[in-house]
């Protein structure tokens, strides 16, 4: 039974208001920007965003007013600097207040790992003595019950996303997908999330994927939707397909210093750009071609 559908349908059906959504689990690579833009176009509200580090997609979703809470280790613009929309939301409540539950990359990874194991928490020795547990109720200071001296230990509460959005190199219509390159917390998120939306550069026959089952990124029965979406990770890179568009991050940073600047950027690249084909046309053939990689076989 094919799960292939248009992006609009996938977001409509599987990301209702209030969802807990994991995205950007490969860190700065393979970020599902196209799917994030569709969430903005569909005016989703009260989302909780989950990710290790977010390279401007979280900022865009916050600026567009989709977000109530973020559980993450780092929210900014990796190469260009601070996240202006996140700053405005936290410092001034513009366009709406956002709660940030601060994690480290290890603790957000452990939170997802715990959820995928069906464990209520995982104990760790990171973050002790830091201020993060004072403000994040998902990081609980405790003592190690296996240690007679009652040594301190931190319990990281399991965090189960409702949906994980994953951009991959190739998938079939049934939800088998190959991803390679930096994994980040993708392996953990795949097991933690209730369901998965796959956006893929290429739709290929099932045989291509089952030939190398070690590279299949998720159990297909967890995949709710498969969307054919070439270029869906731009401006982030996709290993073997295209490089990171560093200039795009600089431009975003420069243009979004003010609310008005952000709104103009959002209109141009998201609201008035109906889909990824239009987005790539706006980007321009020459700029897009310049990012294309020599594709290593995998």
């Amino acid at each position: 039974m094919s799960k292939q559908m248009r992006l609009t349908e996938a977001i409509e059906r599987f990301i209702p208001d209030g969802s807990v959504v994991a995205l950007g689990t490969c860190l700065e690579a393979a970020i599902p920007f196209a799917a994030g833009h569709e969430i903005i176009r569909q005016h989703r509200r009260d989302l909780t965003l989950v990710g290790p580090v977010s390279d401007i997609l979280f900022d865009q979703l916050v600026g567009a007013g989709c977000v109530r809470r973020i559980s993450a280790a780092w929210v900014g613009n990796m190469s260009a600097g601070l996240a202006h929309c996140v700053r405005r939301a936290v410092e001034e409540g513009i366009p709406a207040p956002v709660e940030i539950r601060d994690h480290s990359t290890f603790s957000i990874g452990l939170a997802l790992l715990a959820a995928g194991l069906g464990a209520p928490f995982i104990p760790t020795r990171t973050l002790m003595g830091s201020d993060l547990p004072l403000e994040n109720p998902d990081l609980i200071e405790s003592t190690n019950p296996l240690n007679e001296l009652g040594e301190p230990i931190l319990l990281v509460r399991a965090l189960q996303p409702d949906v994980l959005i994953l951009h991959v190199q190739r998938a079939d219509v049934d939800g088998h997908a190959h991803y390679w390159g930096p994994l980040g917390v993708t392996r953990e998120a795949v097991l933690a999330a209730r369901r998965i939306i796959i956006t893929a550069e290429e739709i290929v026959p099932r045989e291509t994927l089952l030939r190398d089952p070690n590279r299949i990124v998720a159990p297909a029965h967890k995949v709710a939707a498969v969307v054919h979406l070439p270029g869906g990770a731009h401006p982030s890179p996709l290993y073997g397909y295209y490089d990171r568009d560093h200039a795009f991050f600089e431009e975003y940073h420069a243009r979004t210093r003010t609310v008005e600047g952000f709104e103009a950027w959002l209109r141009e690249w998201v609201l008035d750009t109906p889909d990824r084909n239009a987005y790539l046309r706006r980007l321009g053939e020459a700029r897009w071609q310049a990012l294309q990689a020599a594709r290593p076989q995998a």
């Binding site: 860190l27 601070l82 990359t105 003595g129 830091s130 201020d131 390679w180 290993y239 990171r244």
Partner: protein, 253 residues
């Protein structure tokens, strides 16, 4: 060769890496320090990256993020972030680099927020992997531009603990790693005494201990044997500039 304070800072940081060590490499200046070290005195240093990658050789082009395709190409391992953090947590990392907005005399770092929780003046990106490196690495090296509002009496938020309130604080709160071994700034190298308090160990060639003190937000002690930081060698400067010719991370001379 002439050099900038940022170049001096990065090169002094590179010297903290010993050959054969495992280094947790962040992006920006720590990345450049790792590159300089591998190109000069530490060719066998191994790099861990939060994206789940381990490298034994240098990436072919300048990285803008640790997840760039150039960092995957030729990587010696591409596992999960949790795997790499597990290796960190089990004591495999010799030295990790940290940066931030504020640091205090005990090497406690703030990368989360300026101002109080209810009325933050500036929301910063947060920990990333820095708090984990601060918890577990055998030693950490902090890189920061030397400005009085950065080297402060008290940080607004402890993202990555150093020596806390000093002495055996790390053992009391249960942090396994060794804590900071240096704060390297644009003006000098600070090291830590047996109580965990930072003092000026060396000042960069273009400054004086007094100038360093004047730019520090606390009453900085100066080592009796304080000396000038050895200036960059040609090999160090060449390695740095060859890797970042446009000054993306280090700036231009």
């Amino acid at each position: 060769m002439t050099f900038t304070p940022r170049e001096m800072m990065v090169i002094a940081a590179a010297r903290e890496i010993r050959d054969g060590e495992i280094v947790f490499v962040g992006i920006r200046l720590p990345l450049v320090a790792f590159v300089v070290a591998k190109q000069t005195h530490a060719p066998n240093a191994v790099g861990y990256f939060g994206s789940g990658l381990i490298r034994e050789t240098l990436p072919a082009t300048l990285l803008y993020t640790v997840s760039d395709p150039a960092n995957v190409e030729g990587a010696a391992w591409a596992g999960s972030l949790v795997d790499v953090m597990g290796l960190l947590a089990t004591g495999h990392v010799d030295v990790g680099f940290l940066g931030g907005a504020q640091v205090d005399r005990f090497g406690n770092l703030n990368t989360t927020r300026i101002g109080p929780a209810r009325a933050p003046r500036m929301r910063l990106p947060g920990s990333g992997g820095a708090a984990d490196i601060a918890a577990f690495a055998k030693r950490t090296v902090i890189l920061m531009p030397h400005e009085p509002h950065r080297l402060v009496e008290e940080v607004d938020y402890i993202t990555s603990p150093g020596y806390g309130t000093g002495d055996d604080w790390r053992a009391q709160v249960g942090l396994p790693g060794g804590g900071p071994s240096a704060i390297i700034t644009t003006l000098g190298v600070l090291r830590f005494d047996e109580h965990g308090e930072a003092y000026l160990a060396s000042y960069h060639p273009f400054t004086t201990p007094e100038e360093v003190r004047a730019h520090t937000g606390w009453d900085l002690r100066i080592a009796p044997n304080v000396a000038m930081t050895p200036p960059p060698t040609d090999a160090e400067l060449q390695a740095l500039r060859a890797y970042d010719p446009e000054g993306v991370w280090v700036g231009t001379p």
